[in-house]
């Protein structure tokens, strides 16, 4: 039943859009205005609409709705789907808070959830601190040739994929890795430090993976700031930290919000760094979702957890946008 609703809902949305456009064209009566088909020709117009509709409906909206729908079902073998036991339930969401087998608080998953969110916030803040000076230097102080070279140096490591980057960090941070070798060789420590077990590896890995996601929006935002404004502030005697606090950062707000949201989203949803760099006892939230799909084969519960993650991310992003007082449209540009 609920599956049919999923198929009907998009049709309702399309009808809504169509009515809206009808009404709008009536309100704004403009004799020079041409309709969509008049402007593009019938064939191309139909192709455009078909392509975009396919994308929106079958690749974006319906899969999302379907996932949400799946999360409200009990876990059933394929034979029993659609049978009398296939009813709508919130048991998958309840199981996030209360362990179904014992009835106790599900501290394991709750802790993993908050650990993932807080770590992502922390990584976002660290990356902002690391990247802001470079972005500022590239945007305001560097010469064109220098900026070009720096840009190139930033882009090349970005094309090495996530897995190999995690692997390279593991080579450095492992107990037999280069850093421990060096420290022991100098004689600072006697036994190797367990970077991976203490989650150091995880933090470094996440920060390392999304460094550039932070640099580019910051650079783009600061680059368009008029140099004269900084000059003026300096001439009026503002110390450097005041220039940043009162001139540069307020101006670069959309870029900061954009970089922070992207880094947060990517790190909260990351799979590679926690899998390869996390300690043996570290539980990352996406890893739990992964296990529900590939080890427990409990798709409804996995879908419910994925939806919880998505909701948390959306709330966080809206909070950041509110905090920086920018609109979503400005962020993605």
């Amino acid at each position: 039943m609920s599956r049919f609703i999923v198929f009907l809902l998009p049709l309702a949305v399309i009808a809504g859009f169509w009515l809206l456009s009808r009404q709008e064209s009536k309100l704004a009566h403009d004799p020079t205005h041409k309709s969509f088909f008049q402007r593009n020709g019938a064939v191309l117009g139909i192709v455009f609409i078909a392509l975009v509709t396919f994308w929106m409906l079958f690749l974006v909206v319906m899969p999302y709705l379907y996932m949400v729908q799946e999360s409200f079902h009990p876990r059933l073998p394929p034979m029993k789907r659609g049978g009398p036991e296939d009813f709508l339930t919130i048991q998958q969401y309840k199981s996030f808070f209360v362990e179904p087998s014992s009835g106790n608080w599900n501290t394991l998953h709750l802790r993993a959830f908050f650990f993932s969110i807080l770590t992502s916030v922390f990584v976002t803040a660290v990356n902002f601190a690391i990247c802001y000076p470079l972005a500022y230097y590239m945007a305001q102080a560097g010469t064109i040739q220098k900026v070009r070279l720096l840009m190139l140096c930033l882009i090349v490591p970005y094309w090495v994929n996530e897995i190999l980057r995690a692997f390279s960090l593991r080579l450095l941070l492992a107990s037999k890795g280069l850093i421990n070798q060096t420290l022991m060789g100098i004689g600072i420590i006697d036994t190797p430090i367990d970077f991976l077990g203490t989650n150091m590896g995880l933090y470094v890995g996440l920060s390392y993976a999304y460094l550039l996601i932070m640099v580019f929006p910051l650079y783009n935002a600061i680059e368009s700031l008029d140099k004269n404004q900084i000059e003026a502030a300096r001439d009026l005697g503002a110390p450097w930290w005041k220039i940043h606090r009162d001139v540069v950062i307020p101006y670069a707000k959309p870029g900061i919000a954009s970089g922070c949201t992207m880094v947060f989203m990517l790190s909260a949803g990351s799979l590679a760094a926690p899998q390869f760099l996390g300690g043996p006892s570290t539980l990352w939230f996406t890893s739990i979702v992964y296990d529900f799909f590939f080890q427990a084969f409990n798709w409804p519960r996995g879908a419910a957890y994925a939806f919880i993650l998505l909701t948390a991310c959306i709330i966080f992003v809206l909070a950041i946008l509110k905090l920086f007082k920018v609109s979503l449209g400005e962020t993605i540009r």
Binding site: I163, F167, K176, C313
Partner: protein
């Protein structure tokens, strides 16, 4: 003056640290690819070897993975570039009130964690393809689902790239062609597409590369098949071998070559543009002086 010098030194030191952080792990990994021990180590460097590259070349599942990755990448380009183009054109023509809503829906996949895109793709297509035995046997495949899952957000990247260029398009060109009797398809193929060509090329490249190196969405959508990245993930989970470092060296080498090519091409393009501008300036000056002499 000396405080300025100190400041400069500090900035240089900071930039050095930043790039050491960025490149350090990659450099260390690259060294291990040429060292003999089977546990990847950079120090002590025992002996130079290319053995790990040979091992990589003979790695069967990795080579199969590359093949699948290329197929998926091409599929993603084939879907997402036309979709991105169509969406960009519609974005420019849609009514004002609907535009922000349309924009929000189309870019939402960029902001959704890849894991969630992968999960929702699998759940949805499993049910849709399961309707008939035929579709289940021939279309419920990891490669197809991976293309669908990746195309959902890659199309949004393409949309953003193409839209940026489309905003600089002069509509009067289109009007002129129509007034001169061109048909709509002619205007599209002979005016709009050539204008958008640079954006279409860069959208294709970005689409292919982001498909090729995607992990989060693919690992769910790929089902029983394998791509290069999922094979890699399996290898890293099992243990460490310098063959992985060798692969990284190959990838770094390729992207370096690509970056240099890109830079050279861009320099050349800029030089050509400058020449044209210079010529235009000269022509303008010539015209002005010519007009003056004519008046006198």
């Amino acid at each position: 003056m000396s405080s300025r010098l100190v400041m400069r030194g500090m900035i240089a030191f900071y930039i050095f640290l930043f790039f050491a952080y960025l490149f350090g792990p990659l450099v260390v990994m690259s060294i291990t690819a040429f060292n003999t021990p089977s546990y990847p180590q950079a120090y002590p460097f025992e002996a130079f070897t290319l053995n790990w590259f040979v091992r990589l070349w003979n790695h069967r599942s990795m080579m199969d993975g590359i093949k699948n990755s290329v197929i998926i990448g091409l599929g993603v380009v084939a879907i997402s570039v036309p979709v991105g183009l169509a969406a960009a054109i519609m974005m420019g023509q849609i009514y004002h009130r609907a535009r922000s809503m349309f924009y929000l829906v189309t870019v939402s996949p960029v902001l959704t964690p890849g894991v969630i895109i992968g999960i929702s793709t699998v759940i949805f297509w499993k049910d849709v393809m399961g309707v008939t035995d035929f579709t289940k046997a021939y279309f419920y495949k990891g490669i197809i689902l991976a293309v669908f899952g990746q195309a959902s957000f890659v199309a949004a990247y393409c949309l953003l790239i193409i839209m940026a260029r489309l905003q600089r398009f002069d509509r009067s060109q289109e009007e002129a062609a129509l007034d001169l009797g061109a048909s709509f398809p002619q205007v599209f193929w002979h005016i709009l597409v050539p204008f958008l060509k640079p954006a279409l090329i860069s959208a294709s490249v970005i689409a292919f590369l982001s498909s090729f190196e995607n992990y989060n969405t693919t690992t769910f959508a790929i089902l029983a098949d394998k791509t290069l990245v999922t094979v890699l993930a399996g290898e890293v989970r099992q243990g460490t071998t310098p063959a992985l470092s060798a692969l990284a060296v190959v990838i770094i080498g390729l992207s370096l070559v690509g970056a240099i090519f890109y830079e050279v091409a861009k320099r050349r393009e800029e030089a050509a543009a400058e020449r044209i501008q210079e010529r235009a300036r000269l022509a303008e000056r010539g015209e002005i002086t010519g007009a003056k002499t004519g008046l006198a």
